[in-house]
């Protein structure tokens, strides 16, 4: 089998400077840049910063929950803590991190383009994102205590700054729409000659599906927040039954966005896993078309199932049964991906560098998260465990065990390409191990707590739940230690890492065929693509 996917000159980077796109220095060179790689890096720094801030909130919540009773901070402060943990992690980290960060950096590189279709729109999208962050910070004057879901009627009458925070998220959503639109046009119009749809890397397929959701779903939550603001400021009764409104209508609108958006979080991570597994198994990806189309299927089916968040709200029984049945449909394309990844690894020459460790962790934890999602999609079982720690454990297994592990697989995989330096494996492995152990100790216990009936979001709990809460909190410390070691390794790699060759993992996709770091124009000449990027034929020595 041929181990190239392009014809023409090689290497593709030509006479790039050794520092590539990082050559130009200074604040303005970054703030005004139109280079998709620099914008991607700015998104990564911003989102990873909020990952750490959200993580601090999480640690404080866990410390509070070690003991029942009011201590350390008040119950009201606790409400603010879990709201900020949820809102920051979701809107400022987990939604934008992979699409806007790694997607910005690697979509043009992987399809053989010099930039995204609309570079100025891309820069605007970043600064709109920053404007959203600033507005969110203003809301801390009267901090939010509604939980990240803003449910009416409480959100319509609390004295907290719901309007300000939701306007900040409105801006973040606008940034998300602009990025999704940019990526859709880029993938349609800027693919290198010869790169047909079935020769695109699977990361591109997953980003395409993600962008569709961003463009179609995000406007709905934006409008919902506007309606909420109109209710709060002008007294229009959209959601207030006393004025002819319907509080459950808010939840329909909210989840019409917020359920599809969990696939904005997970699909790009799945794309990264589809890139990492063939490289470290030295085998062609198994079931390329099945994985590609399952991304689009997940994006589509994800729009049909929002009602499963509302089974106990007083929604009609008919609707609950329809939504419960439809929920199962999402499991099919997800399982297709998992089986194809396993088949790719079967009899491969697997090596366990850090990107592969994170990719395997993704599969393991995401299967737990996905299958417990089936418990919750089943109407009867959901009524038993709704609003308990079972839900908390389920979505942390999908979002941390899934998306964050996928992001970390991508960061470890592409670190040499982005920075021109290698990451130290000696520190990466213990960091991974601590995170893996810490994560499972923290969140598996919460499955048990949930099944035993401990409700989520309460600051108080009966003493019978304390033992498992202590275990969970200690687990969060192990997890945090792993995260800190990993970040220390990133910093060390940035300054002291060994210079990275253009293609340290001997991968075939176009992003690896240019310099590390890539030159500003990505490729000296746009390559002509002749094959798919997965033609691996055994380990290269």
């Amino acid at each position: 089998m041929r181990e190239t996917m392009w014809s023409g000159e090689r290497p593709l980077n030509g006479n790039a400077s050794p520092r590539g796109y990082l050559e130009e220095k200074g604040f303005w060179a970054w703030a005004y840049t139109l280079d998709h790689k620099r914008i991607g890096v700015m998104y990564l720094y911003t989102t990873l910063f909020f990952f750490l801030v959200g993580g601090v909130f999480a640690l404080l919540i866990r410390i509070k929950l070690m003991f029942p009773g009011q201590h350390i901070f008040t119950n009201q402060t606790y409400n603010v803590m879990f709201t900020m943990h949820g809102a920051l992690m979701i809107f400022l980290f987990i939604i934008p991190a992979i699409p806007s960060g790694l997607g910005n950096f690697f979509i043009p590189l992987q399809i053989g383009a010099r930039d995204v279709a609309f570079p100025r729109l891309n820069l605007m999208s970043y600064w709109v994102f920053v404007a959203g962050i600033v507005v969110i910070l203003f809301s801390l004057v009267r901090p939010m205590d509604t939980g990240w879901t803003f449910y009416t009627p409480y959100s319509a009458r609390t004295s907290a700054d719901v309007t300000v925070l939701s306007f900040g998220i409105f801006l973040i959503g606008m940034s998300s729409i602009l990025t999704g639109l940019n990526f859709l046009v880029t993938i349609h119009k800027l693919r290198a000659p010869g790169m047909t749809w079935h020769r695109m890397p699977l990361f591109i397929w997953s980003m395409y599906a993600t962008s569709i959701i961003q463009v179609l779903a995000t406007p709905v939550v934006g409008i919902t927040f506007l309606l909420l603001a109109m209710e709060r400021v002008l007294g229009v009764g959209f959601f207030d039954p006393a004025k002819g409104g319907d509080p459950i209508l808010f939840q329909h609108f909210f989840w019409f966005y917020s359920h599809p958006v969990v696939y904005v979080m997970i699909l790009p991570a799945m794309g990264i896993i589809s890139e990492v597994i063939p490289v470290f198994s030295r085998k062609p990806i198994f079931g390329y078309k099945a994985i590609a189309y399952s991304s689009v299927a997940i994006a589509l089916f994800g729009f049909f199932v929002w009602g499963h968040h509302m089974f106990v709200t007083g929604m009609s029984g008919t609707a609950a049964i329809i939504f419960s049945l439809l929920t199962y449909s999402v499991a099919i394309p997800t399982a297709i991906k998992v089986f194809n990844w396993l088949a790719t690894m079967y009899r491969g020459s697997i090596t366990f560098e850090s990107p592969m460790l994170y990719a395997l962790t993704f599969i393991f934890l995401f299967v737990v998260g996905g299958l417990t999602g089936m418990y919750l999609g089943a109407l009867g079982a959901d009524i038993h465990v709704h609003d308990t720690y079972f839900i908390v454990a389920h979505f942390h297994y999908t979002m941390v065990g899934g998306t964050v592990m996928g992001l970390l697989a991508g960061l470890h995989f592409w670190f040499p390409k982005m920075t021109g330096r290698m990451l130290g494996e000696k520190m990466a492995r213990p960091a991974w191990l601590l995170m893996f152990i810490g994560f499972n100790v923290t969140f598996f216990t919460q499955f048990i707590l949930g099944f035993e009936g401990m409700p989520r979001r309460y600051a108080e709990y009966p003493a019978q739940y304390q033992a498992l809460n202590i275990v969970s909190t200690v687990g969060s410390w192990v997890l945090a230690t792993g995260v800190l070691i990993m970040f220390a390794n990133f910093v060390r790699g940035l300054f002291r890492g060994a210079p990275a060759p253009p293609n340290p993992w001997k991968a075939l996709s176009l992003d690896w065929q240019t310099g590390s770091p890539p030159p500003t124009e990505n490729f000296r000449e746009i390559p002509t693509v002749t094959d798919w990027p997965y033609g691996y034929a055994g380990r290269q020595t």
Binding site: L216, V220, F303, G317, T318, A319
Partner: protein
């Protein structure tokens, strides 16, 4: 693109149709039809939006890809209405 357009007369005709339909919306609102009032109003609004998209936004002469991007959101609009009605109609 002017040479392929319906021309000034065509645009004025479309505008006139929009004015007539607006008047129809106002007129129908005075007739008591129960639930059908909303249905009729939405139908007229959909026809008006289609006229604007087809003629003023030139969708009529666009490629199939652009048609795809224009019609996909309509499907999702129908979806959110149908899903919400599956709740409110059967409570």
């Amino acid at each position: 693109m002017k040479e392929h357009g319906p021309g000034n007369v065509g645009y004025i005709a479309v505008w006139a149709a929009l004015v007539v339909l607006t008047a129809a919306t106002v007129a129908v609102s005075y007739v008591h039809l129960g639930m059908m009032n909303i249905v009729v109003a939405l139908l007229i609004a959909s026809v008006k939006a289609s006229l604007v998209a087809l003629f003023f936004m030139h969708l009529r002469r666009e490629s199939r890809l652009v048609w795809g991007f224009a019609l996909t959101p309509v499907f999702f609009l129908v979806l959110i209405i149908a899903g919400t009605l599956s709740d409110t109609l059967f409570r």
